[in-house]
Amino acid sequence: MPFQLEIFINHLLNGLTLGALYSLVTLGLVLTFSVIGIVNFAHGDLFMVAGYTLFLLLNMSIELPYVVIVALVILLTAFYAVVIERLAIHPIIEKSWRTHAITTIGLSIILQNAALAIFSADPRTTPTSLSNTVISPLGIRISVQRLIILVVAALVFAGIQVFVKHTKLGKTMRAISQNREMCQVVGINTRKIALITFALGGAITGLAAALITPLFSVYNSMGSMLTIKSLAAIVMGGMGQVNGAIYASMLMGMIESFFGGYVSFAYKDVVSFGVFVLVLFIRPTGLFGKKVGL
């Protein structure tokens, strides 16, 4: 196959959007992991619940503008996250990682099957008018929804940088992520911060779901793969480094796009997970150095 620049640019763009998508999903998870030290195996399922929320809101009898719906999904997902934190995470927060992992795996089973019981196994689509509006700058056709994802992802990452470095709450979170015990000693209420972090992670996940599901569909077992890809990104990014996880997500998007496009789709996940497992062996501390914390 001859090299075609247009095709290459298309793959690049696809990789970029896929990466943006993965990193938006990863962001919520890496925040809670970094600040609270909990690996939430039910994170993808929270995304799924947010997706169904979007589905219900779009199919209400009153038609709301999309922006309002996005805001509602963000708020509701943050609320779900808070409920989950209070009921299941809060009581075990001081226990071992093993307890964290198994509890959240249990949560994941509950959420997936509750969704199955309520919504049946049929995937639901949540198209918006934006996902069918296509523009073609420079001859590359792309839907407005996808562009919005790219722009919002960039804004969210920039926002997180500002938040962590320049707000009091952000600085506190950063401090906790770097040294939990010391923070407890100096009187920071780490439990309250944990709750806030969960809410923030939920809000970002809600935003991600509200933007991304219109391009795809939402179904009960979709969370597993999202959780696993996010976890892989977090590990590759250096266990809890927010920026590292974002870069790793972008890398996975690029690998999938280029390997799938030029070699084989059947093996694209094999390759992206293969890279992840290799990184574990060669650099267990992650690809981007071992700076601790946010």
Binding site: N10, G15, F119, A121, P123, N132, F216, G261, F265
Partner: protein, 422 residues
């Protein structure tokens, strides 16, 4: 002390939830249109619908029918679809056949071989059903075949499309399994010729499951033989994939047409992105690209599915009346699995049982098996009549989408085909 109390409270909560789990089945909630009907209709058939037979007679022995279907896991939508069709069929039968009330027994095979063995064991040994309806995953069917043989209970299968099965049933060794759906090889021959008559090259894309992969194994070698080159072959996890990279690749291969083998939901997502990228090739499909559910999922923009040519069996176009009844009952569109479930029950199992009763014989699994083997029923999709490999040759149909609606193009007679080598 406080700890013990907590444990106690927890146990009470779990127990009450266990009880609560029964509740939705016992008291059907007012059906929310989008929610699947699940057990509600089953209950309805059993409790609310009195047998149509003369009420003065003493109740006759029930007919026990087992469902060996994937009800959870990745293929749950298949099992649910089957069940919806079966439940509708039973409702239309009035909940009974000649006064014998119909009882349904579920067994979840999760679409996996191991659980399929468990499921058939349960149906045969515990529920002691007289006949089973199965379908969904070919691997599950293959694993359950020894148990079906050993349990000596007939099973009617709607959509295990793996050609291997053909060689193992009927004279192939297992007289208890019957297929009303044709397999990939039988369908593939006709459709490959049809495609090759129209285009010179094809890009193949499929769901990454038994359905898509199984079709790939047939079409990728058959198409070149019919005269159309296959330029790429790719599979995707149903639902998850961002198809854009694949679409970009298809664009770069420059194939004349795309052959999609996907179920309804993946196809809707795929086609949406297909249009986004601006591809204009002819789209051939096999599976769920012109179904009611597909059109439902793309109703915001009917242009998405416009002009797709699809080859399928059990399509609503071939029995529009049934499609209407189905929509009325569930407020959902029919799919080929929902269709297959209905046909397996209404046009296969029910006539066989009637035949047994008409002959004045006992309703034993063996008698039902013989009756199924002897069936010759005319339906909207052709005769249900089994050959010596227990295969019925229902008709295939060609359909397309026009203005967001399925349009019936043509029927295709399917013929027996040599299965050696599979």
């Amino acid at each position: 002390m406080k700890k013990t109390l907590k444990v106690f409270v927890f146990l009470v909560v779990v127990m009450s939830l266990a009880l609560a789990a029964c509740a939705p089945a016992a008291t059907p909630a007012p059906a929310e249109p989008t929610a699947a009907p699940q057990t509600q209709p089953t209950e309805a058939t059993k409790e609310e619908m009195p047998p149509t037979a003369v009420p003065t007679e003493a109740p006759k022995d029930p007919i026990k029918i087992g469902l060996n279907l994937p009800l959870t896991g990745a293929l749950a939508f298949l099992g649910e679809g089957y069940k919806m069709g079966i439940v509708l069929a039973i409702e239309e039968l009035g909940g009974a056949i000649q006064g014998h009330p119909i009882e349904l027994y579920d067994a979840d095979n999760k679409g996996t071989p191991t659980d399929s063995v468990n499921a058939v064991r349960q149906l045969v040994d515990v529920n002691q059903v007289q006949v089973m309806i199965g379908g969904g995953a070919s691997s599950a069917t293959l694993a359950s075949m020894p148990i079906i043989l050993e349990g000596e209970t007939p099973s009617v299968d709607g959509s295990s499309t793996n050609p291997t099965i053909y060689n193992q049933i009927g004279v192939g060794g297992n007289p208890w399994l019957f297929r009303i759906g044709t397999d990939d090889l039988i369908m593939g021959q006709g459709y490959s010729d049809y495609i090759a008559d129209r285009v010179k090259s094809v890009s193949f894309v499929g769901d990454d499951n038994q359905f898509g992969r199984g079709a790939g194994q047939v079409y990728v070698p058959l198409l070149p033989r019919s005269g159309a080159e296959v330029l790429s072959e790719d599979y995707f996890d149903p639902g998850t994939a961002d198809y854009r990279p694949a679409l970009t690749k298809i664009k770069s291969t420059g194939a004349d047409a795309v052959l999609i083998v996907m179920t309804d939901q993946s196809c809707a997502t795929f086609m949406r992105q297909f249009r986004e990228v601006g591809l204009t090739q002819q789209v051939f499909a096999r599976g769920g690209c012109t179904t009611g559910l597909f059109n439902e999922n793309t109703k915001d923009d009917p242009k998405i599915g416009e002009g797709i040519i699809e080859f399928s069996f059990f399509m609503s176009g071939s029995d529009p009346d049934f499609a209407d009844r189905f929509f009325k009952r569930y407020n959902q569109q029919v799919t080929s699995h929902r269709f297959a479930g209905y046909y397996a029950m209404y046009h296969t199992v029910a006539p066989a049982i009637e035949a047994v009763l008409a002959d004045g014989k006992e309703l034993t699994p063996a008698n039902i098996r013989d009756a199924i083997a002897a069936l010759d029923v005319d339906t909207a999709v052709g005769k249900i009549k089994f050959d010596d490999h227990n295969q019925a040759y229902t008709k295939g149909s060609l359909t397309t989408n026009k203005d967001g609606k399925q349009v019936f193009l043509d029927e295709v007679e399917l013929k027996p085909i040599d299965h050696t080598g599979f």
